[in-house]
């Protein structure tokens, strides 16, 4: 299976783990993709009318996708561009030539792989029209070639469909028309029946027509003309399949054709099999689809097994063999953004036990999926098994958390957790995804998971923390809700303990003008197997939770909002303390998001600017398509206006030192638990650290009763320190280093023997990372020891920071911890601990890609993920040791196999989608073919790049780094995504 994107990338997917990606030099939309039968080659057509030949070549054991040739069809001098504008492509089964249908109605023949035009074999429209009856000819000329189909049995005959309705069967040997089929409706597409005795055409008016092909009648009448959703005017049927089966009843599968007035806005594909008929209703536009059927040339019937549909936002595969035509659970290209992603969290090296429990909880949710194996099975994945089990958790706007298997190349959905059940919402509680109304006509059935409409934005998930050892999960959301959950393998019904944390405490006179807190459900609630909440803490005021920390050993959860932070004992279910961090003069923070008139105005202005800019650029893009100078003129004028406007209102930035009075200083950015020397250097104790937007760090001493009295004595907390960074930049990370300068282990890590216990002999150090500086302090005295200034020297600010463990790829017994830092410029820097030396830096994300930068998560072992579009994560690796990349082989089949299908997706697609980054795609040609064992299609995704670090560790600094850096900008990243 191949998918082309609007930005000129093609991605090939096969069996899970088999994937390739190629990028055209031109960033033009891919319009069509056609596999050359049995050649591991494919041809792409871009919207600049250029053809590109790609092949999969084996190189040091793995296949790679390479561009071999490119070609642009040139007409005779002086001919209009439309004469050579390619509208249909047919790779002939001989693999030697390509037939190119054009807007002029002529069909050019080019030789492969050289792309040499064979002029003597051109099929001109004049030749075609010679024998057409006069009256028909007068009414309509040939117009553009809409479809080209090779005869399934006789490679010397091809069927040519013209847009005005004329269809001819052309004999390649004798260069003449053998049959004329005089259609009266504007043609959309054609499809042969397997035995070549009939073909079917579909039309703009929503009808399809069967035509007989026999040697006695050279100008047959249609056998049957059906408007499936008549009698009222219907939309076009843009693509159709006619699939024979052993039992005699064919499958007729077509896209579109819905009644214009009442269902014209649906994106549907209908499957008709005898009396069964279902119109699969997609939530986003259908770009293309194909059917997987028996490709053995000797097989008598098609026996379709699956339908693969590429919608704009996702890929859906329907099992046509099982009763009820269920969907197939995709092993890759799952729709990440079925509800917008609001946050993500990565957990490395999941213990097997927890992994299995999550999978088993997930499998109970997936019963409505088909059990059929993934039908796209080309290629062989030869990548070694992933070294460890990694989970990527994504929080979504609709209050769900999705658990993805991020160990390997494919991001695969394991389990979906919904927090909605805890709350009372207006949402319709019954899950009517698959209800099939019996008497409904058309028999619509919703498929796919893409559902961008959130019932209640307050449900959105903002922070996630999973303890992989205990199975405790803490999830916090938009309306100040914090849920602590436990993994349970059985369904259960219980009451969720509920507490409220008033973060304003005694601060009087503040009004919260934002949203209300969520209403909770009274009484016991039924939860399905999986993570089940047992504690709910709601912050008051119900502002977005901005930081979250869970300590599964102490059984404490800490949470922070723009008003303050609190600590909750989830064992005793008791609030330990709250601390208000508001500055008395910070009025804005109190009033909630709605009253921030100023910033609202600003953001409105910005979004208008953005819209204007995108309009300009999309117009520009279309202008390239070649018609009037008028458009260009308009564009130029538009650009000028836009430019002028920009000059009139230049963006300016105020230069002012930060003061305590700036707004949002109380915003709690980070929370951290540590067992360290907070009070004096002789005794260590549990502590909680919090960092705010205003550069303040609070440290609390905790007294956690020993395990045997854990339920009897309360947890106590006492403020021990408060540090005000004079540069007042937001604190984004806090970390304590032990006596060996190693970061303290995670809770329970030592108890599970996965980490050495921290060194409590030597003196501990505190690392505070603000957006501008890294600073190391001694403990317990908190005197400044070292610092690294980032912003003052480079003008960039820290966006994400984490400790990553870098192992050596040469020897197993060396590893070290460093800080992995992502800046607002999209650079990634590695900074050594504890001396804060910059080891390496390289550009990773474009600095304009704000959402990409915001979405980045680092793993514990030096990899990372970020969203390159709302639906696609790109994965990168900073470690030479841990590298996940696709490695796969596609063999060239020896036996020829027959069919291939191709589709074209219309020009109109290109303009449509404006959201998403340049790299995301909306327009696809797609294609598929299979032969007996395996195929050419291949794969997906990727991984990439590793940078080295290692080399700096080991001394060989310069050259290695550069080599890697040079490689990385290709950005063949991309790991997963719905169809955008």
């Amino acid at each position: 299976m191949a998918i082309g994107t609007r930005s000129g990338a093609i991605k090939l997917y096969g069996a899970p783990g088999v994937e390739f990606m190629g990028l055209h030099e031109e960033n033009n939309t891919v319009m069509q993709i056609h596999f050359i039968p049995d050649q591991c080659q494919l041809v792409t057509l871009l919207d600049d009318n250029s053809l590109h030949l790609w092949s999969l070549k084996q190189h040091s054991g793995a296949s790679e996708l390479r561009e071999e040739h490119r070609f642009t069809l040139k007409g005779p001098p002086g001919s209009p561009p439309s004469a050579t504008q390619i509208t249909a492509v047919l790779p002939h089964s001989s693999r030697e030539v390509l037939y190119l249908g054009t807007e002029s109605g002529n069909i050019f023949v080019v030789e492969l792989p050289s792309f040499r035009v064979l002029e003597d074999r051109t099929i001109t429209s004049e030749a075609v029209l010679q024998r057409v009856p006069e009256d028909y000819c007068n009414r309509r000329s040939c117009e553009l070639v809409e479809a080209l189909r090779e005869h399934p049995k006789n490679p010397d005959q091809i069927l040519i469909g013209y847009s005005r309705g004329l269809i001819v069967l052309w004999d390649l040997q004798n260069n003449k028309v053998t049959h004329h089929f005089l259609g009266s409706q504007q043609l959309e597409n054609l499809y042969w029946q397997r035995d070549g005795s009939k073909f079917i055409s579909c039309h703009y008016d929503g009808s399809y027509t069967q035509w007989p092909v026999s040697s006695d009648n050279r100008q047959p009448e249609p056998l049957e003309n059906i408007v499936p959703y008549g009698p009222f005017p219907c939309k076009a049927i843009s693509k159709i399949y006619w699939q024979t089966t052993k039992n005699g009843l064919p499958y007729i599968i077509f896209q579109g054709g819905m009644p214009r007035a009442s269902y014209g806005d649906r994106h549907s594909i209908s499957v008709v099999h005898g009396s069964q008929q279902t119109a699969f209703d997609f939530t986003s536009r259908v770009i293309d689809f194909f059917i997987i059927f028996s490709s053995e040339p000797t097989a008598e019937f098609d026996d379709p097994s699956a339908m693969v549909v590429l919608a704009e936002e996702e890929l859906v595969v329907i099992d046509l063999k099982s009763a009820g035509w269920p969907a197939v659970h995709p092993p890759y290209l799952a729709s990440l953004h079925c509800s917008a992603i609001t946050c993500s969290h990565h957990v490395s090296n999941i213990p097997l036990k927890l992994w299995e429990r999550i999978i088993s909880a997930g499998s109970k949710q997936n019963v409505h999926y088909s059990s059929m194996p993934w039908p796209i099975d080309g290629g062989t994945n030869i990548a070694p098994d992933p070294p460890q089990r990694d989970l990527l958790l994504t929080g979504h706007e609709d209050g769900t958390v999705r658990f993805w298997d991020a160990s390997g190349v494919c991001l695969h959905l394991l389990y979906k957790l919904s927090t909605v059940r805890v709350f009372l919402t207006d949402a319709d509680p019954n899950d009517n995804m698959n209800t099939l109304g019996e008497d409904e006509w058309p028999p619509l059935r919703k498929v796919g998971t893409f559902d961008p409409y959130s019932d209640d934005p307050r449900l959105g998930i903002q922070k996630i923390y999973l303890c992989k050892y205990s199975g405790y999960l803490a999830v916090a959301g938009t309306a100040g809700q914090v849920l602590v959950m436990e993994l349970n393998d059985e369904d259960a019904e219980h009451v969720v303990d509920h507490a409220e944390a008033d973060l304003l405490q005694d601060q009087e006179g503040y009004r919260w003008k934002g949203h209300e807190k969520l209403k909770t459900r009274d009484g016991p609630v039924r939860f399905e197997a999986g993570f089940q909440p047992f504690v709910l803490v709601q912050c008051q005021p119900p502002a977005v939770v901005t930081s979250l920390a869970l300590h599964s050993e102490w059984k404490l959860v800490a949470f922070g909002t723009s008003h303050g932070f609190g600590l909750f004992d989830h064992q005793q279910k008791r609030l330990v303390f709250v601390k208000c961090t508001l500055h008395p003069s910070d009025q804005l923070a109190l009033e909630g998001p709605l009253s921030r008139v100023k910033s609202l105005k600003k953001s409105l202005r910005q979004s208008f600017r953005r819209i204007r800019r995108s309009r300009v650029s999309s117009r520009k893009r279309r202008g390239g398509g070649g018609n009037a100078s008028e458009v260009q003129e308009a564009n130029a004028k538009f650009d000028q206006d836009a430019l002028q406007e920009m000059e009139l209102a230049p963006v300016q930035r105020k230069i002012e030192a930060r003061s305590a009075e700036d707004s949002f200083t109380g915003f709690v950015r980070t929370l951290y638990f540590a067992d360290t020397f907070l009070r004096d250097s002789s005794r260590h104790c549990p502590s909680l650290w919090a960092g705010t937007n205003g550069g303040t760090v609070y440290a609390f001493c905790l007294r956690v009763p020993p395990a045997e009295r854990r339920m009897d004595e309360p947890v106590r907390a006492e403020q021990a320190k408060e540090i005000q960074l004079m540069h007042r930049a937001p604190v984004v990370g806090i970390l304590v280093l032990d006596g060996r300068s190693t970061p303290l282990p995670e809770p329970l890590e030592v108890a599970h023997d996965l980490s050495k216990s921290p060194d409590m002999q030597g003196s501990h150090q505190l690392l505070v990372v603000s957006e501008e500086q890294f600073k190391v302090f001694t403990l317990p005295k908190v005197s400044s020891k070292l610092k690294l200034k980032l912003t003052a020297l480079e003008g960039c600010r820290v966006r994400k920071v984490t400790v990553a463990n870098f192992g050596s790829c040469k020897t197993d017994d060396y590893s070290e911890n460093d800080l992995a830092v992502l800046t607002n410029l999209g650079d990634i820097q590695i900074i050594s601990l504890p001396f804060l030396k910059l080891q390496i830096r390289y550009p990773c994300i474009r600095k304009e890609d704000v959402s990409g930068i915001a979405s980045c998560v680092f793993t514990k072992y030096g990899q990372g993920f970020y969203l390159i579009s709302p639906s696609e994560f790109e994965r990168f690796s900073l470690s030479t040791k841990w590298l996940v990349e696709p490695r796969c082989v596609v063999d060239v089949p020896e036996v020829s196999s027959n069919n291939h299908v191709h589709t074209r997706s219309g020009v109109e697609n290109a303009a449509r989608k404006s959201r998403g980054s340049g790299r995301s795609s909306s327009d696809y040609g797609e294609d598929e073919r299979k032969s007996g064992r395996l195929m050419e299609h291949a794969l997906l995704n990727d991984e990439k790049v590793l940078k080295e670090i290692q080399s700096t560790l080991e001394g060989g600094r310069g050259s290695y780094a550069e080599r890697n850096l040079a490689r990385s900008p290709l950005g063949h990243g991309l790991s997963n995504g719905g169809g955008r």
Partner: protein, 384 residues
């Protein structure tokens, strides 16, 4: 004792414009008056002081108490004029023998220090005559300075803004723009960063050294070329404690013109330029490195226990004053030595002296020069 002084050419007897002057040398007082609007030249005033106190053969240092009660020096026309024009109602002048002067007493008070914005205008530099003793820039807390005059092209200006302890906003805005560069291929338009607006009353405006449409070339030694507006903004804010901006002024007419002699022979200083002033400061710059910047920066505040800090900045100033109490004497000793060095070689780092001074500034034992009574008389409250 109450003798009127008639300054030959300027003084007119107008009730309203007369300023009463009370001059104190040792235990002796002299009283006279000056014309508020035409006080005359400092040199004349200096001679007058020597004359009326009958100390013609002494080298003295003249100071006055300003409205805040600070002891400020009078040693050139400008501060003389300032002293006279701001006297209200009485100008109290203190005369000390040059060799007895305790420099640390000048500008004693921390609180009032924040309010005065003494501006070292470029024009002053030009007007100064080397034979006038103005060698005490360290008597003022600098709020800004032009530095590196000798190593920068004449079209550029490097300005240092000192913000520590100052409540004044930095007060300027920057924007994107295009500037024209001369390249081997002719004129070329390149993107640049420009000052787009000054906040009235802000530090930037009060220096007079920065103006709207000046192009920003460097921030604390780092070129801004190739950086975005946001990056430059972040750099400036991160360096706001000690911001050094190199600009290409939009108005090139006020540039310091170095004479050819000056630029030609390195060691020769000349009469007509600001070299006297710029030598020590340029030294600061040449030696400028991050560590030095560090020393200018305020330290983070750590509060132990459950203290509820209401006003962090005040706590900070408390700590620094207690510190200076402990170290005061030795610091002042060092200071003296530094000053000697400075006078001799002209090579002492302004920044270091400044640092020493600022740590001394609240030491109560050094505020002896201002008599207690005098303070009460004026009703100015001095917090020590």
């Amino acid at each position: 004792m109450n003798r009127s002084f008639n300054k030959s050419q300027t003084l007119r007897y107008l009730e309203c414009s007369a300023v009463e002057v009370k001059s104190k040398f040792g235990a002796e007082f002299r009283r006279f008056s000056l014309d508020r609007y035409k006080p005359g030249k400092f040199e004349d005033f200096y001679k007058l002081i020597l004359h009326i106190h009958h100390i013609a053969n002494l080298e003295v240092m003249i100071g006055y108490a300003d409205v805040h009660g600070d002891l400020l020096p009078i040693n050139n026309d400008d501060n003389f004029f300032k002293a006279v024009s701001s006297a209200h109602p009485l100008l109290r002048v203190f005369v000390q023998r040059q060799d007895e002067v305790d420099y640390s007493n000048f500008g004693t008070n921390t609180l009032s220090r924040k309010k005065k914005a003494l501006v070292t205008l470029r024009n002053d530099n030009l007007r100064r005559r080397p034979h006038i003793n103005i060698s005490m820039p360290h008597d003022f807390r600098p709020v800004s300075s032009i530095i590196d005059v000798d190593i920068l092209p004449e079209t550029h200006r490097r300005v240092r803004l000192y913000r520590h302890g100052c409540e004044k906003p930095l007060g300027f805005y920057i924007r994107d723009g295009t500037s024209v560069r001369v390249t081997p291929h002719g004129l070329e338009k390149v993107p640049g960063i420009f000052i787009s607006r000054m906040v009235p009353g802000g530090l930037a405006e009060s220096t007079g050294l920065l103006a709207v449409n000046d192009e920003v070339l460097e921030v604390n030694g780092i070129e801004v070329a190739g950086k975005t507006l946001d990056q430059v903004t972040d750099m400036m804010i991160a360096n706001s404690h000690n911001l050094i901006i190199t600009v290409k002024p939009a108005n090139q007419r006020n540039n310091i013109i170095r004479s050819s002699r000056m630029s030609g022979s390195s060691g020769q200083s000349t009469d007509s330029t600001a070299s006297h002033h710029s030598l020590p400061t340029s030294h600061v710059l040449q030696n400028f490195h991050p560590d030095e910047m560090e020393s200018d920066e305020e330290a983070d505040i750590v509060i132990e226990g459950g203290l509820e800090p209401q006003h962090i900045p005040k706590l900070h100033s408390l700590t620094s004053s207690s510190l200076s109490r402990i170290n005061g004497s030795s610091l002042s000793h060092r200071l003296q030595r530094d000053l000697v060095l400075n006078n001799n070689s002209g090579r002492e780092s302004n920044g270091n002296i400044h640092k020493l001074l600022s740590s001394l500034k609240t030491d109560p034992r050094h505020s002896l020069v201002i008599p207690r009574g005098g303070i009460e008389e004026d009703g100015t409250v001095i917090t020590l």
